[in-house]
């Protein structure tokens, strides 16, 4: 009886995994169709000849909207942006910007150390944060498919390589 109870306890996580929600896709997609229409969503899957898109935003991921499939022949252009790029850029920018402020007390006065006001450091910090955020936010890559299978396959290989990394 005890053994059964233990087995049941051990199985609970496996049963609950059925209700587990997959994490949202890594890339948001900006797809232009051959007619020139735009579809913004989340890239779910890239197959040999088509892509699957979730037609919503990151915040809509829990809504379980039905995915949309687009064949390579329907696609003119694809632009992908990694999730959290802006935040990452902001963090990297602020780290780079904060470096001179953090290192300043360590620099000896003879070399031009911590004697004057911190306006220069503040300017460097602000600039780094701005550049980092913009760089992170604009980190977009993609391909002009123009309905051609060969270009689509190149895009798929690149996507697979990025996903492995």
């Amino acid at each position: 009886m005890k053994f059964r109870a233990l087995v049941m306890l051990w199985l609970i996580p496996f049963f609950s995994s059925a209700q587990y929600q997959a994490p949202s896709p890594r890339y948001s997609i900006h797809l232009t169709t051959m007619d020139g229409n735009t579809l913004k969503g989340l890239l779910m899957e890239v197959s040999d000849s088509s892509i699957t898109i979730y037609p919503g935003k990151q915040k809509d991921w829990k809504s379980n909207l039905p995915p949309v499939h687009f064949s390579y022949a329907q696609i003119q252009q694809i632009k992908l942006k990694k999730k959290g790029g802006t935040v990452k850029g902001l963090l990297i920018g602020s780290l780079i910007g904060a470096t001179p402020i953090l290192l300043k007390p360590l620099i000896p006065v003879a070399i031009g150390g911590p004697k004057k006001s911190g306006f220069g450091s503040l300017a460097i910090f602000t600039g780094s944060v701005t550049v980092g955020t913009l760089w992170g936010g604009k980190a977009v890559w993609g391909a002009n498919i123009n309905g051609e299978l060969s270009i689509f396959k190149t895009f798929k290989n690149r996507y697979d390589a990025k996903c492995k990394n």
Partner: protein, 288 residues
Amino acid sequence: MQSVKIKMITFLFSLITICAFAKETPARLNFIVSTKQTHFDQAPFSFQIQAKVMRMFHKKEMFVIITPSTKNMADRIISILEKKHAMIGNIWFDSHGHWQRRRSLFEVGKEEFSYLTICDSLLTANLQRLAPYCDTNSNVGIGSCYGGATFTLPAIETFPEARMNGDSLMIGMSRIFNHATVYASESFVMTKPFIMSAAYALSGCPGRKKFKDPIYSPVWQRIGTWNCYSGKTGTFLTPATVTLYHDGRIGFKKRTFISFMNNQHKLAKIMQKLKRGNYNIATLYHPA
């Protein structure tokens, strides 16, 4: 002396007649119905604030009903009408239009009314409760964008062309509201400042980028155009641009919105700048 008596009797008789007549014809009240918002939305918020401000000056004849459902709306309207022994003069439904659903509609709470649902007696049961308080002199306004649209949307990607069927919605509404006159727009319905000042505040050109797509060209071509269905005669009319008066009455202007030169220039500029790709077609795949 006798002539004075006759005059007095005549005066009293006419006074009694007027009183009796006044008792027989109930007062007309105006209602503004808007959905209670669960999250902040600028357009309904602005409309509700403006309506509430105007209600402060017209407490006797205008009522603002901010409601989460049609049941709540009907309950409140009926209680007011019973208390005041009145009939509905004008009722305005403030709502969003949902382009991605590809049909004319308006919403009260989470309940949608379109040509698909307006004939469903179960879904419209609460609206039908208001029918005894309406007649052919009542006016019903559908305040959602493209609420009375009659154009056909062109096919896009995998979606076939679709007629908006706003006229069917208007006919259905008129039947529900005891052959009342129904007003609805072919185009955008704006929520400009001073919306209830008998101005052109209900018409205009929205500034958001998503509207500057050729997918919206049938709507842009009909800016400021309204349809009117008379339940009394069973005919459609195209009145000049519809407006709301201070006390919630629905009326229309002498000139259409687009008859003004500056509006024509503005529209021409927008029409030239329409660019495919401004509208995100992802919304068509989940038209909620």
